[in-house]
């Protein structure tokens, strides 16, 4: 009885939704949960904008020749698809939505270390997004450089590159501030007894990510500033006509943008590491190995950028070194995969939507990771560089990995965030549709790339027709799955049954408070006495 009384006491009834009302209480909020939801709204809106752009790109490629648009429109579409998906969706999504919402709760804190800077980050994110948005409709037209803004083309093209790179710079500032906030929070605000080895693995994932955000983002910041200054003052640091070096631009760009792919994947790996043990009802296998391999990925992953430039004319020595480092980064990634599989082994597995999304994460990420090794080797890279193989590979990592990890997070934390439950059977159906559509779509792109279909082309030779048709067909199934999944979640938001506080029997702290959580998270800061995976039934069985 005493224990129930105790739990009653730490659960105030008013949720953070009901605490204050009105639009200002949201856009000027300092509550980490509300800021997380503010990000969520924008991330979903931008995700669907990116999906629509991708849909039209695929529709254009359904048949050879011009189908529904001209080449310039196609160039703008793949550029905007890239900018929106990379800078507005996949980089910020998990750290800002789930990191903001759940990291403080999972470590037993009332908020992040710097709530006001957290709000500033969100405003910067919105400002950056607005600037990118305006770059589409003003100036000489939407950017057509690809999301990479490669010099010297980005310095010469007449379209509105300066505004877009300025927007990316602002988004970078937002990302750095979020990183600083979450690292400080993890260091300073852990509840008593929350030792490093008791942190939930999601916290470890976000922690490693935040370091990359702090250390790598400034480099793209300065690079974007240089492109911006070049467009207005003709400084010429990357302009070969003035002695500048475009290869240096590529280095500067990828010094950030390769680690950025780990900003995308590490938090998703954190979600998987948190979800798998809950539904296997088993302690995670190799806790320390997973936690430290995340840090290792962050560290080694920051040194592999040159593998994007094997055909750029950099030295053979650099090629060999970057290729070697690329192979090394596969080791900590594989450690994680093996540990997840080992956790499932002999667990009492409960099949629920979050687990299914995690399983598909492991499957798709493995394909993405192994194909990454193929293109990371020097000889195959000559053949595969700038073909459809590359977008196929990184969509397996970014969408199959990060995207499905994000979806796992949606389905895992949905009842906690909104206090309602979605329809689980529909969620599983949506997962099946998504998985089928995804593989038809992107696996065809692997085959296209292997056969030599160049990426970013608006047209193609007749021999690629069947595979392009298949890929476009797959994209329709994928979009149907997305609509089904988000429709189901959206319906659950309003019509779903009331969720219990702990529907999955999780043992991390967010499941010990009410759904949705109260503003102050905990009435009393909890004292932590065990690790993140000590399930009750395991304790009872000894």
């Amino acid at each position: 009885m005493t224990s129930t009384e105790a739990t009653e006491r730490v659960r105030p009834r008013i949720s953070f939704y009901e605490d204050r009302r009105g639009i200002l209480s949201w856009i000027l909020t300092l509550d980490h949960k509300r800021i997380g939801l503010l990000y969520l709204i924008f991330v979903i809106v931008f995700f669907f904008s990116g999906v629509v752009l991708g849909f039209f790109m695929r529709l254009e490629m359904v048949a050879p020749g011009g189908t529904i648009m001209g080449p310039q429109t196609y160039n703008a579409l793949f550029t905007l698809h890239g900018i929106i998906m990379i800078f507005l969706v996949v980089i910020p999504a998990i750290p800002t939505v789930f990191g903001n919402f759940f990291l403080p709760i999972q470590i037993g804190a009332r908020d992040v270390a710097f709530p006001r800077i957290n709000l500033l980050s969100w405003w910067l994110y919105v400002s950056g997004a607005v600037i990118v948005f305006f770059s589409v409709f003003t100036g000489g037209g939407p950017p057509d450089t690809g999301w990479t803004f490669y010099a010297p083309y980005s310095l010469r093209t007449t379209v509105n590159v300066p505004l877009a790179v300025f927007g990316v710079f602002i988004l970078g500032m937002s990302s750095i501030l979020t990183g600083i906030n979450l690292v400080t929070t993890t260091h300073r605000l852990r509840a008593p007894g929350m030792a490093w080895k008791r942190l939930p693995l999601f916290v470890w994932g976000i922690y490693a990510t935040s370091w990359v955000q702090i250390l790598a983002t400034p480099i793209i910041g300065i690079t974007m500033v240089l492109v911006f200054l070049d467009r207005f003052f003709g400084v010429g640091i990357f302009d070969p006509a003035k002695g500048g070096d475009p290869i240096l631009y590529q280095h500067m760009f990828w010094i950030y943008s390769h680690p950025a792919t780990y900003i995308m994947i590490l938090p998703a790996m954190g979600i998987v590491s948190d979800v798998v043990p809950v539904f296997a009802r088993k302690k995670i296998f190799g806790y320390t190995a997973i936690a430290l391999s995340g840090m290792a990925i962050a560290a080694v992953g920051s040194l592999v950028w040159g593998h994007h430039m094997f055909v750029s004319g950099q030295s053979d020595f650099a090629d060999i070194l970057f290729s070697l480092l690329t192979f090394l980064v596969a080791i900590p990634s594989a450690i994680k995969v093996f540990n997840w599989v080992a956790t499932l082994h002999k667990g009492s597995i409960v099949i629920e939507p979050p687990l299914l999304f995690c399983l598909s994460f492991i499957f798709l990420f493995s394909i993405g990771g192994l194909t990454g090794l193929i293109q990371g080797a020097l000889a195959p890279n000559m053949h595969l560089h700038d073909t459809y193989w590359i977008p196929a590979h990184f969509h397996y990592i970014i969408f199959g990995g990060m995207g499905f990890g994000l979806f796992a997070g949606f389905h895992y934390w949905f009842p906690k965030m909104f206090g309602r439950m979605y329809n689980r059977r529909t969620a599983i159906r949506a997962w099946v549709v998504l998985l089928i559509g995804f593989n038809i779509f992107y696996f065809s792109m692997f085959l296209l790339g292997w056969d030599g279909m160049p990426r970013r082309y608006w047209d193609y030779l007749p021999q690629f027709r069947t595979l392009h048709l298949t890929a476009t067909f797959g994209s329709w199934i994928l979009i149907a799955g997305l609509i089904l999944m988000f429709g189901n979640l959206f319906r659950g938001l309003f019509r779903g049954e009331k969720a219990q506080d702990n529907p999955w029997d999780g043992v991390t702290l967010e499941w010990q408070i009410s759904s949705p959580p109260p503003t102050e998270n905990f009435e009393k800061i909890p004292v932590i006495r065990h690790g993140p995976h000590d399930f009750k039934e395991l304790e009872q069985n000894g």
Binding site: T184, I214, P218, G243, G244
Partner: protein, 206 residues
């Protein structure tokens, strides 16, 4: 594991956390300039002679003067922090005003330097500059960007110190609560130390 230690922090202001956040921010600033220093290093390695000749044209006296000014300002901001810690009221205000004044003098000198160069027709994309060897175009391009970016940081630093001055006047800083000023001081030292590297790289490499 029951004796596992984690920081116990419940209420009030976490000074250690505030300083940790500031150091992380400084780290990101250093990397921002780090990108520029990489560009400088590579371009100088490729064009040693042009950099040598171009550097000769910069005003070493003005550069040295600015170095002395900025170093002195770092001293005055450091002393102002100690003064606040010891409970002084007027002294830290005076010292902050001295620091801000020195920062502004630095910017004025920089402005003279730039306008002189621009008067000689040397500015990005100018016909006179484009007629020169490519290494010199790069040198002056880097010169304008790096000192410009640094100047912007000096300006931001002066603004931050101004806010600190207002906090002092409003009696918001005292021997138990001085972390904002300490963090502002850290930022000012960052601005200073970046200049310590810019100075030899642009003025003293001939």
């Amino acid at each position: 594991m029951d004796d596992a230690k984690a920081p116990v922090f419940e209420e009030g202001i976490d000074y250690t956390g505030a300083k940790l956040g500031m150091w992380l921010f400084i780290l990101s600033e250093l990397l921002l300039f780090g990108g520029m220093f990489i560009l400088y290093a590579i371009n100088r390695y490729k064009n040693p002679d042009d950099f040598h000749h171009a550097s000769k044209e910069l005003d070493v006296v003005l550069g040295t003067l600015n170095t002395i000014i900025l170093l002195t300002s770092s001293l005055s901001v450091a002393v102002s922090i100690t003064a606040v810690q010891k409970g002084a009221r007027r002294l830290p205000m005076v010292l902050l005003m001295v620091t801000m004044a020195l920062g502004l003098v630095f910017l004025v000198n920089k402005g003279f330097e730039w306008t002189t160069k621009i008067g000689h027709g040397i500015y990005p994309n100018s016909p006179a500059l484009l007629a020169r060897p490519k290494g010199e175009i790069l040198f002056f391009g880097l010169y304008y960007i790096m000192t410009g970016l640094h100047g912007l940081h000096v300006l931001i630093g002066v603004c931050v110190l101004f806010v600190m001055l207002i906090l002092l006047i409003k009696d918001k800083l005292n021997p138990t609560h001085f972390t904002p000023l300490e963090n502002a001081g850290l930022y000012w030292h960052l601005v200073d130390i970046i200049w310590i590297f810019l100075y030899p790289l642009f003025y003293l490499i001939t």
